[in-house]
């Protein structure tokens, strides 16, 4: 039995949903043009993951195993709709920037994966910790990629100019090909770090 702290930290490093498991890559690549968009997307996914893990954990044993997948989809879709409406009302700028990728949180394999692999077999407390770990790992990955792309592509981080006039921004990293290339290089760096720290 893994301890509660292991449940939390595995989502951030050893089983990071983006860098290690490569789950839910569509929003990772699409919205990380700027760091703030990446962070916003991460928080939106974290909220949905937390709520869906809570509900899935509470109804475990009640829902017959045969219809569990449609039930999970319905639960996730409900919370995604809530996020969609709340963002539209209180953060219209972010809602505009994330666009179609907010409704698409519903098919994010990370959220479905945690419901299926963890929440339906574990207690409420452990499911919450698991969701927090995985969600924070996802948010961190999106924010790091967002910072890298924003600094290289526009010379700013979270909208603040940090490189000054000496640096000529590379427009490539603000465009779609740059998303793939930046994430590929970040995976390499993350793998190196993991190996050095001996998580393997």
């Amino acid at each position: 039995m893994t301890t509660i702290s292991q449940v939390f930290t595995k989502g951030i490093i050893a089983e990071n949903p983006v860098f290690r498991l490569l789950l839910g890559l569509c929003p990772v690549l699409a919205v990380t043009m700027t760091a703030i968009n990446g962070f916003g997307m991460g928080i939106a996914a974290l909220f949905v993951l937390l709520c869906s893990n809570i509900v899935v954990s509470l109804i475990r044993g009640v829902v017959p195993p045969r219809v569990r997948i449609p039930a999970f989809i319905l639960i996730i879709a409900t919370f995604v709709t809530i996020v969609d409406l709340v963002l539209n009302a209180f953060a219209p700028g972010l809602h505009e920037a994330l666009g179609i990728f907010i409704p698409l949180i519903v098919v994010n394999c990370m959220i479905m994966g945690r419901a299926e692999a963890f929440a339906r077999k574990n207690t409420l407390g452990r499911s919450i910790v698991d969701a927090l770990g995985m969600g924070i790992g996802f948010t961190l990955a999106l924010t790091v990629l967002g910072i890298v792309r924003e600094v290289l592509g526009m010379g700013t981080a979270f909208g603040v100019d940090i490189t000054g006039a000496a640096f000529e921004p590379m427009a490539l990293f603000a465009s779609p090909p740059g998303a793939f290339i930046a994430l590929g290089i970040l995976l390499l760096v993350f793998n190196l770090i993991i190996k050095r720290l001996g998580f393997e």
Partner: protein, 194 residues
Amino acid sequence: MELNLAAIIFVAILANNILLHQFLGVCPYMGVTKRIETSVGMGMAVIFVMTIAAIITWVIYNFLLVPFDLGYLRTIAFILVISSLVQLVEIVLKKTNPTLFRALGIYLPLMTTNCAILGVAILNVQMDHNIIQTIVYGIAAAIGFTIALVIMAGIRERLDLVNMSSMLQGAGVTLITAGLISMAFMGFSGIMTL
């Protein structure tokens, strides 16, 4: 109208490729592109399901959700329709066309969590397409998806033979290759716009 449809086809397949430009369906892109045969099978399944899903979600949105002012239920309604549609297609194919079922069978369950299917359904609604534009956009987007998949599989079959750092192997090099392919597809942008 004709030009509009031609523009939709061109833009959906090449200029705004659903995978390389809009990032819908990256999970199967990483998952099933190890060999050309599997990527062709996946592509065919996507063309099949995406076209049907685009039509059905369009009908549901315009004849059920809009008249009753239920637009906010779009996400829930679409994902339910798509996942039951995938089940239905599986059952019907199994009975009526076993050959096609054997070819597409293992890829069909993956369709529910393929964001390209739901993404195209939502894009059709967002862009106010009529039914003909919806069908054309669905097919064209799926063809663009298949092309991207097959190109990547062809490159990855050769990449397997290359000697490279174990740190970059697998996902890392696939993503960088995808970036280069995406760059090539960017050359098509601006030729024709919607």
